[in-house]
Symmetry: C2
Subunit: 149 residues, 2 copies
């Protein structure tokens, strides 16, 4: 279903449905994550035993309304960049087989008022490079590599 | 070739090569467009007789470094939103058959320093919804619909 996302709740519920189909793993790689509904869905998956890992952008994660602190508080693993550039990806991978990617950050403004697109792809040739990129970033942003001084 | 874009010039030259393969038409739908190299490529295609159409975001297009004024000056058709939300897409369609989409805005910062992805897709089932979205936006942003007061 490679469908540009029309605005409004219908699209949010489609996105929620795809996420909530996760049974084993969910990788999330998002520049901005502030949607409370999507935050609650991710916490629910974590409580159900799905292995959730989140990568996000350091500059954005501290802004008011960010869900990142709540996810960490719930015990979900989160890693962030330590760079000047943005970690600008906006994708998620469900059970290592479904890629959800596009222009959409997971924010209420983006969902309700922006013009955005979301692609949902299950072909392995598309999913694999994003899985590889996630694992590369996950290692690169391992806290053992953080510089504090 | 669904490959997350590694940083640096290598990716820029790959993107340029795909764009410059256009023979008949190029639709561009971009939140932010400030890369001089990509701006020059688009102008070159216009001079070669390729039908170029650009849709962009009203808030971003007036910022310093935006290529939009230069494109208009060169005679390229540009339309923009008149909304509070962002026109946040980042895609282009070459000859109505190749879709280039992802997280990447066409800015020097994004190309050189951000972590970004670009998907290049030629399957009609993926290209068609983006073509339809472009035509929908193109009509919606027709200047005859602009409100000035």
């Amino acid at each position: 279903c490679p469908c540009p996302l029309p605005r409004g709740d219908c699209s949010l519920s489609r996105l929620l449905r795809r996420l909530l189909s996760a049974r084993r793993s969910l990788e999330i790689c998002l520049f901005a994550f502030s949607s409370p509904q999507l935050g609650r869905a991710v916490q629910l998956l974590h409580r159900r035993g799905v292995r959730v890992r989140v990568v996000t952008d350091a500059q954005y994660m501290g802004l008011q309304g960010s869900q990142i602190g709540l996810l960490r508080h719930a015990g979900i693993q989160v890693r962030h960049d330590q760079e000047n550039g943005y970690m600008h990806h906006k994708f998620a991978i469900v059970d290592r087989r479904m890629l959800i990617t596009g222009s959409l950050n997971w924010t209420t403004q983006a969902i309700q008022t922006n013009r955005e697109n979301v692609l949902v792809v299950e072909d392995a040739e598309y999913v694999k490079p994003f899985l590889d990129e996630f694992e590369r970033i996950w290692e690169e942003y391992n806290p053992i590599h953080y510089r504090f001084f």
